[in-house]
């Protein structure tokens, strides 16, 4: 469906960018994104997805401020609908903000990969955020966390940076619009230490979760 006049005005600053065509915007408006987790960066991610014109955002998991977030997204952009829950959904993109680098995260990654869905994982620990777009053969979230010099217990202290929210939204928006150039490496954004760089991660020897992820279980 062609863009309406008010949509052309609303998205004017992104439609004017090189390669960001009307067709790319229409792709965004038709897309469905499933978001796991909670917290301020997740909220900010949802708002940036909504602002860019993602059509439907499904929030999986219980969070106390969900109604406020749904209201804020709708008030920002009525083109976007934010829904509570994502059971039975066939999304176009999965973003996982759950503070979990254990078997649960590996299972969600394996499930998304098995279904052929893009899966973007964000972990926050000690003022840093790690973001990775998962692919077949990649190490498990626990091994990526380890590559950043962080432990599972560091996830209990995420720190106050919210950089990962818009960063995840940027990656997902570009990929959904067909403009993304996915990187294999994880991205480390350590606002506390002022370190922003790519992070090469390899599976730890005999990591059970990596093996499960490789098997797609």
């Amino acid at each position: 469906m062609p863009l309406r006049d008010d949509q052309i005005r609303r998205y004017a600053r992104q439609l004017v960018m090189r390669d960001f065509t009307g067709a790319a915007q229409e792709c965004l408006l038709k897309s469905r994104v499933l978001v796991y987790g909670e917290g301020p960066p997740m909220d900010l991610c949802v708002l940036y997805l909504a602002a860019a014109g993602v059509g439907d955002i499904h929030l999986s998991g219980v969070r106390p401020s969900v109604l406020d977030l749904i209201w804020r997204a709708a008030a920002l952009n009525p083109d976007c609908r934010v829904h509570e829950g994502g059971r039975g959904l066939r999304p176009d993109y999965v973003i996982d903000f759950a503070q979990d680098a254990g078997p649960g995260a590996a299972r969600r990654a394996a499930g998304a990969l098995r279904a052929g869905l893009p899966y973007l994982k964000v972990l926050r620990a000690a003022g840093a955020a790690i973001m990775k777009r998962w692919r077949e053969g990649d190490p498990c979230p626990g091994c990526v966390l380890n590559a950043a010099g962080l432990k599972q217990t560091d996830l209990l202290n995420p720190g106050e940076t919210s950089v990962s929210g818009p960063a995840a939204a940027a990656f997902a928006t570009l990929e959904l619009a067909g403009l993304g150039v996915p990187t294999h490496n994880a991205l480390l954004m350590d606002a506390d230490k002022g370190a922003y760089r790519e992070l090469a991660a390899t599976p730890l020897p005999e990591c059970i979760m990596c093996a499960e992820l490789a098997d797609g279980r």
């Binding site: 004017a12 992104q14 920002l76 952009n77 940076t161 570009l174 990187t183 606002a191 922003y196």
Partner: protein, 252 residues
Amino acid sequence: MAAFDPKEFAVPRERARVLVAGAGGLGSPALAALASSGVGVIGVADSDVVDLSNLHRQVIHVTAGVGLPKTASAEEFLKRSGFGGAVLTFQTRLDTGNIMEVVSEFDVVVDACDTFRSKFMLNDACVLAGRPFVHAGVLQFEGQIMTIYPERTACLRCLFESPPPPGSVPTCQEAGVLGAAAGVLGAIQAAEALKVLDGKKTTLSDRVVAFDARHMSFRTVPVSRDPGCPVCGTKPRIDSMEDANYPPEACD
């Protein structure tokens, strides 16, 4: 240049006063992050009103607020977000006549302006007033950020002596911007402002971090003070705010 202790610019969060100059693409994520930071006072300066074309990136504003001053919309956002401190709004264009007075009221300044003229004016005012500030700029899929301690670390004019000639660089209106790219830079600006207030040594001073959303990559470039800098060098030619130092933008 001698090393300095960033603790000399530290201020306890509850007493800290932060100015966000610009409530647009960079200011929105900065304000969203500062709202829950426990700072005492947030100042918001912007002369514009909310436009529909702002809303793909300026996530603190709402569609029903189109036509409202951005300062009022930002204040409403801060209240709705549960910000417990005071909000000071400056619904005026910062210019050579008022910028020193405004900047001097704050402990740290976030440069969330959208024109080179404003950015250089803010740089000079902060250096002359002795206020640390966090510069950032964003266009299309890319942007950069640097934290500046006046007369301690490299300022914007140490890198670029003067704004680019009018019309030589496209504006956001002409070239566009990915909303979430501005979001990344603005969120980093807030984190930097808080590190300045906390007296941390890990700020992005004397280095520029460049972000490229298209490739999801960051690049860090070390920089240093220029003894010939026109505002913070050994023989500065800019010692007060004069209009002649800030040529009008092509779209002014």
